[in-house]
């Protein structure tokens, strides 16, 4: 059963995508396949999470080749949490896309690409092999390229060119990094590498040098300072259904890889990495939130906030205690759900008002009280107001920081969180509370049928809010799983034994 269970998060979207390709011309059928695949994904990932949570780390060797010679697919709690979060998000995105994305885009491969994107996420989270990780990242990358450019409007193209260039470089760095690792240690299996770095080697500095390649590569992909530039340039350009998923998921997968590698492999030179990561985390938070505070566009504010929140996750890694890493993991999950949801809400608002610019928006509070409530919950979750979900992550990180006397970074993170509150209330004030300004007649045409359609668009938002509220108000299950995940990460023996079957 293990073999199948571990592969399902890869195979379901893959077969879904293949089916979609066969029904290339029939959008309705593709929608159906998509929903079906999403439902299966949800179930499969939930079962996987339960299994891993109960039985510990599971692994399966591709092609029956013993590790480290083949490729290992391995699931610990962290990766299962990522997979289930991605399938929750994926479900929401699908529900949204049906009404929220124009038909033209849907006909040009939107569904298969989105499914493959999910496959890439699952692959990146489940693989136990460094080069395979690279491959899955390339899958993610090409899907993002395609999705960001899908439709080819001017801003999209402009965003895409920056996105493509910088991420292509990142892939290059990643590949060179893998080359360096292979050149030093002669293996690609992550568990095997973990063993090798822990045995005395003649040249430890080389390992930390290799680590730097990965830090840069995944740093670019997860948008940490000073490597994040592509994100604010591109994430807000495609239609919301696309940016919501990319914005919610992608950077966090990069963060996943960073956490995985820097707890498993690149742990030898912590005198260097920990201060370095701390500094980067601090700057990422601050610069990201500054950017968000300066923007006046719904989506751009949200995009810059991604950067800022990546800083928090990095902070957890930099503090490097079980609690801190658990905090990071919790934060990642919270952030994926909340960020996706905020993007979706911005999409619904823009769908009704025809714009994302704060100055042209207004009056949503009176027109759509229910949507306002949904936004309020999500926004204040993001801002970390208790009892919503962001609080727990913030709390765990702050506590972990205090426990090892890292006062500066904790105070920074709290200050950043205040500015986050500021920019969320900015959206709230401008979009929801403010009276709608005298609007452009061009923007304001919406037929009744479209109003109906936009009511359908609430469904995914409610779906996500349920999860957000759940992990906020009843945080215990996720928190305890995050603790377990952190324990597994820091106790790399568990991982090594599960993969190498010792």
């Amino acid at each position: 059963m293990n073999h199948l269970l571990l592969l399902l998060p890869l195979l379901i979207p893959l077969y879904g995508a293949i089916l979609c390709l066969f029904f290339w011309r029939y959008v309705r059928v593709q929608q159906l396949i998509g929903i079906l695949a999403q439902a299966c994904m949800l179930i499969a990932s939930f079962v996987l999470l339960l299994e891993v949570n109960n039985k510990g780390i599971m692994s399966t060797q591709m092609g029956s080749w013993p590790a480290p010679f083949g490729i290992t697919i391995v699931a610990d709690v962290f990766s299962s949490l990522m997979v289930i979060t991605s399938s929750i998000t994926g479900m929401a995105i699908y529900l949204y896309s049906i009404k929220g994305l124009d038909k033209a885009r849907q006909t040009f491969g939107y569904y298969p690409v989105l499914l493959i994107l999910q496959m890439g996420v699952s692959g990146a989270c489940l693989t136990g092999d460094l080069f395979n990780l690279f491959v899955w990242f390339e899958v993610l990358l090409i899907c993002c390229f395609v999705l960001i450019a899908l439709g080819g409007t001017k801003p999209q193209l402009e965003g895409a060119i920056k996105y493509v260039t910088i991420n292509f470089l990142a892939s290059g760095f990643l590949l060179t990094g893998i080359g360096v690792v292979y050149g030093i240690m002669g293996s690609l299996n992550m568990a095997e590498l973990a063993v090798l770095v822990r045995t005395p080697v003649s040249h430890p500095a080389l390992i930390s040098m290799a680590g730097m390649f990965f830090l840069i590569a995944f740093g670019i992909k997860s948008a940490i300072f000073p490597l994040f530039f592509w994100l604010p340039a591109s994430y807000h350009t495609p239609p919301i259904a696309i940016s919501a998923f990319i914005a919610g998921m992608l950077t966090k997968v990069g963060m996943y890889a960073l956490i995985r590698l820097f707890t498993l492999i690149f742990v030898t030179d912590q005198d260097l990495t920990i201060p370095l990561l701390t500094v980067l985390a601090g700057f990422t938070m601050v610069i990201g939130v500054f950017g968000a505070a300066s923007q006046n566009d719904f989506r751009k504010i949200l995009s810059f906030h991604i950067v800022s929140q990546i800083g928090y996750m990095l902070m957890g890694l930099a503090l490097f205690t079980p609690l801190a890493i658990a905090g990071s993991i919790y934060f990642i999950i919270h952030n994926i759900l909340v960020k996706t949801n905020l993007f979706l809400i911005s999409g619904v608002v823009a769908h009704r008002n025809g714009t994302f610019a704060l100055k042209k928006l207004g009056g949503v509070y009176l027109q759509h009280p229910f949507l306002s409530l949904l936004f309020f919950i999500s926004a204040f979750s993001l801002a970390g107001i208790p009892p919503f979900s962001g609080f727990w992550g913030k709390f765990m990180l702050a506590k972990a920081g205090f426990e090892i006397d890292s006062f500066v970074i904790v105070i920074t993170s709290l200050a950043v969180s205040l500015i986050t509150i500021f920019s969320m209330t900015k959206i709230w004030n401008e979009v929801f509370w403010k009276k709608k300004p005298e609007s452009d007649p061009l923007l304001d045409v919406m037929a009744d049928s479209e109003q109906q359609a936009s009511r359908m668009m609430h469904v995914p938002i409610v779906f996500l809010v349920v999860f957000i509220l759940f992990i906020g108000i009843y945080a215990e299950p996720v928190v305890s799983m995050a603790h377990l995940a952190a324990e597994q990460l820091l106790n790399s023996e568990l991982y090594i034994n599960a993969v190498l079957k010792r």
Binding site: R105, I116, V135, I142, M209, G291, V410, K434, A475
Partner: protein, 771 residues
């Protein structure tokens, strides 16, 4: 208790629905909720007064040691009764005040949410869950202040309140975490017994600073007092409830709650006394300056809060006793006054003191309530306010180095309170006037009943102090002191110094009232000082912050791809150098120089092909030439792969190169002629950066290759690829068997690329996208 909180939240979210069903009668169920909780708490009172501290635990987040502990002792009972009792009246009052408002349902939602949060705050027995409720009060207060959301000023005030209390909230969170670390528990009942452990801990000082920051922002202490008057943008029921009786007292509650844990040290005492003292005086001063009813009330509230903080800081038994009594008295009369102000505003449409006069004729019951509250506030004899003031004076006159200072502070504020009490309780209504202010509508029962009830309560408590409130207040003071303490409240203490001072206060207060016009005129001269006040500082820093971040962001996210790439590559180089800096291996190139002698022909040839090709590439301005040169470079590299035993790679490289050239030709042949766009100023910088990057990569290869590599993979594949993998071409066996998953991923990439290219060339959105 848990059920009470839960019911609160349920009712809160049911409020909009109830409004839809019940229309204007929605206030009935909404008032019933706090009333039943009030009644429930009353049933618990005997056991609390008997000395039991009731506790209750609900599991919440046990893996973080955060549980929903509830803890009911005298102090929390006092506050809880205040919250629910006053809450009942406010719910009724709001039903009248906002009758017909389209958003009444939402208003009740926020108000009930707030009430529940506040109740949770005072009942919490775990400091983190206390914090959770604390923040909930902040956001519900935000929503209530911004209730009139059409107005820019409302929104700005709401934001201000949220930012200031949010700042405090974050500090408080940090502080409480530190307290928890110092006391090794978050559970209140345990913490209360570990006072020494906390105060002697190394983290005590930072924890203290952070906790006080939280308490001071919430309770509008100097220099964070400025948000409170602005928060009066909220509808009056909110001002009365949140910004006078309950939420602002949350800070005071926190200080009182933590007195046994963190109190008693010099730092605690001095900070509280100094900040509280400044706030008391400042609030009183500012109150005199204003003529807006709610502003006056807000500033006197600030002053009263300052006095409460000061008393908490003094920390002696009489001081704490005075504090709880004054707190209750203040809540009663100030609440009344706010409701009265709301009535006046509602009925006349104005809140300006100078325009209002002679209302007693038309608003009789409101006038009576105001009179009673005024007498209590002024500290006249049979009222509860009198007891409060007596006790405060007594406490300040205790033997201590600061006694005169403390006395002066409380005396000054008392004087202003008297003046305000006369102005509001008497002048507004009972002063004869030739032209009473006309009313828009007659006084309504729902509007005047709550203040009347409140003010009468003040009178009853004053008349029968021993009977009704003493036990409760005693238990509260004991909760702060941590020891049993017997004290009795009495209305009449006999003729003594304190009574004399009280009389003096009243006399001087009357003088202030008489000359208030002149005082105000005089005070306006100092308006220039506002420029240096914290309110203005807030505005300036907000503006400066926005300008600053815009500038920073514009310079970092400047839109130029090349500067992004330059930054990334620079970071890359820096980090690699950083990692090799310290005890990194040194490159020993010197002893490998002889290898140069074994230079192979092909290496030289390759170099001779590629380097000139690159030079041509830079020089060339024709696209086709560039493409051809790229082809040459690609083919040379393929050649090189052949030489090193990689025929598959070479073949793939060749074919791919061909395809790339084809694609280039198909796609780019219609582009315009090459113009040489360059950036002369930056060119040298970029050349330098590129060289550094190349050098780094070279260095990395050289240094990695300095060490031998024994790859067990190579050996394993060599042995097993035929025997187990059934193939002689090891590379192919790796691709389709050993590492077939890579290949699967790779073909997926290709498929997606094809879809992408198809979509990009075929799908052109004509008009702007539909989001």
């Amino acid at each position: 208790m848990f059920l009470a909180i839960l019911a609160g939240f349920l009712f809160a979210f049911a409020a909009p629905l109830l409004y839809r069903w019940l229309g204007k009668w929605v206030y009935v169920p909404m008032a019933l909720l706090p009333f039943s909780i009030f009644a429930y708490l009353l049933t618990l009172t005997p056991s609390v007064l008997g000395g039991d501290n009731l506790g209750e635990v609900q599991q919440w987040a046990p893996s973080l040691n955060i549980n929903l502990h509830f803890y009911l002792d005298g102090l929390s009972l006092l506050f809880a009764l205040l919250i629910t009792g006053f809450g009942t009246l406010i719910m009724l009052y709001a039903g009248g005040y906002l009758k017909g408002h389209p958003l009444l349902g939402r208003f009740y939602l926020y108000l009930t949410l707030f009430m529940t949060a506040m109740l949770g705050l005072v009942l919490a027995g775990n400091i983190i869950s206390l914090f959770v409720f604390w923040e909930l009060t902040s956001i519900s207060s935000y929503l209530l202040i911004g209730f009139g959301h059409d107005k820019e000023s409302s929104r700005a005030s709401a934001l201000q309140a949220l930012l200031v209390t949010g700042l405090g909230g974050l500090a408080l969170m940090a502080g409480l975490i530190l307290v928890g670390m110092a006391g090794d528990t978050y559970t209140l009942s345990e913490l209360l017994e570990r006072g020494d452990m906390v105060t002697n801990h190394a983290l005590y000082l930072p924890a203290l600073v952070l906790v006080l920051l939280g308490a001071f922002t919430k309770s509008a202490q100097f220099p964070f007092h400025f948000w409170l008057p602005n928060a009066m943008a909220a509808p009056t029921p909110v001002s009365a409830y949140l910004h006078s009786a309950t939420m602002v007292k949350a800070g005071v509650y926190l200080l009182a709650r933590l007195t046994p844990v963190m109190g008693g040290t010099d730092e605690w005492q001095y900070t509280l006394m100094i900040v509280g003292g400044i706030t008391t005086v400042l609030g009183a001063l500012l109150a005199v300056q204003h003529t807006d009813l709610k502003a006056i009330l807000a500033y006197t509230t600030i002053s009263a809060l300052g006095l409460l903080v000061t008393m908490t800081g003094v920390g002696t038994a009489p001081a704490l006793e005075a504090m709880v009594v004054f707190l209750l008295a203040h809540a009663l009369y100030k609440g009344t006054f706010f409701l009265v102000a709301g009535n006046v505003d509602h009925a006349t449409g104005t809140r300006d003191l100078t325009q209002l006069t002679g209302l007693s004729g038309s608003m009789r019951y409101t006038a009576i309530a105001a009179l009673l509250a005024g007498m209590s506030m002024a500290g006249l004899l049979p009222f509860f306010g009198f007891i409060g003031k007596e006790l405060v004076y007594e406490a300040t006159l205790e033997e201590s180095p600061f006694r005169w200072m403390l006395f002066a502070i409380s005396f000054f504020s008392g004087m202003v309170f008297v003046a305000v009490a006369i102005a509001l309780g008497f002048g507004l209504f009972w002063q004869r006037s030739a032209k009473p202010t006309p009313l828009l509508h007659p006084d309504k029962a729902l509007l005047y009943l709550p203040p009347v009830i409140l003010s009468i309560t003040g009178l009853v408590f004053g008349l029968l102090p021993g009977f009704l409130v003493t036990p409760l207040l005693r238990r509260s003071a004991e909760a702060m002191l941590g020891v049993e303490q017997v004290f009795e409240l009495a209305l009449w203490h006999g003729f003594n110094l304190v009574l004399g001072l009280s009389l003096l206060t009243i006399a001087l207060g009357y003088v202030v009232y008489r000359f208030s016009n002149r005082l105000q005129a005089y005070a306006t001269r100092f308006n220039g000082l506002y420029r240096y006040g914290p309110a203005n500082l807030y505005q300036l820093s907000l503006k400066g912050f926005l300008a600053g971040v815009t500038k920073i962001t514009a310079s970092i996210q400047n839109g130029y791809l090349r500067s992004y790439i330059a930054a990334i590559v620079l970071t890359h180089i820096t980090l690699i150098m950083l990692s090799l800096w310290k005890d990194g291996p040194r490159l020993e190139l010197a002893n490998r120089l002889p290898e140069l002698a074994q230079l192979r022909m092909y290496e030289v040839v390759l170099l001779l092909m590629i380097v000139p090709a690159l030079i041509f590439l830079f020089k060339s301005r024709s696209r086709l030439t560039s493409i051809a040169i790229m082809g040459i470079i690609g083919y040379s590299i393929a050649l090189f792969y052949i030489l090193f035993g990689a025929p598959d790679v070479a073949a793939t490289q060749l074919l791919i190169e061909t395809l790339t050239v084809v694609i280039f030709v198909l796609i780019l042949h219609k582009l315009p002629a090459f113009r040489y766009l360059s950036h002369a100023s930056e060119r040298y910088k970029y050349i330098l950066l590129s060289l550094a990057f190349g050098a780094m990569m070279t260095y990395v290869i050289l240094i990695v290759k300095q060490y031998p590599l024994d790859s067990e993979l190579k050996a394993y594949y060599g042995e097993n690829s035929y025997l187990l993998g059934q193939g002689r071409n090891i590379v192919n066996v790796i691709l389709v068997d050993f590492r077939a998953l890579d290949t699967l991923g790779e073909i997926v990439v290709l498929a997606v690329a094809a879809i992408g290219i198809l979509a990009m060339l075929k799908l052109r959105m004509q008009k702007g996208e539909k989001p």
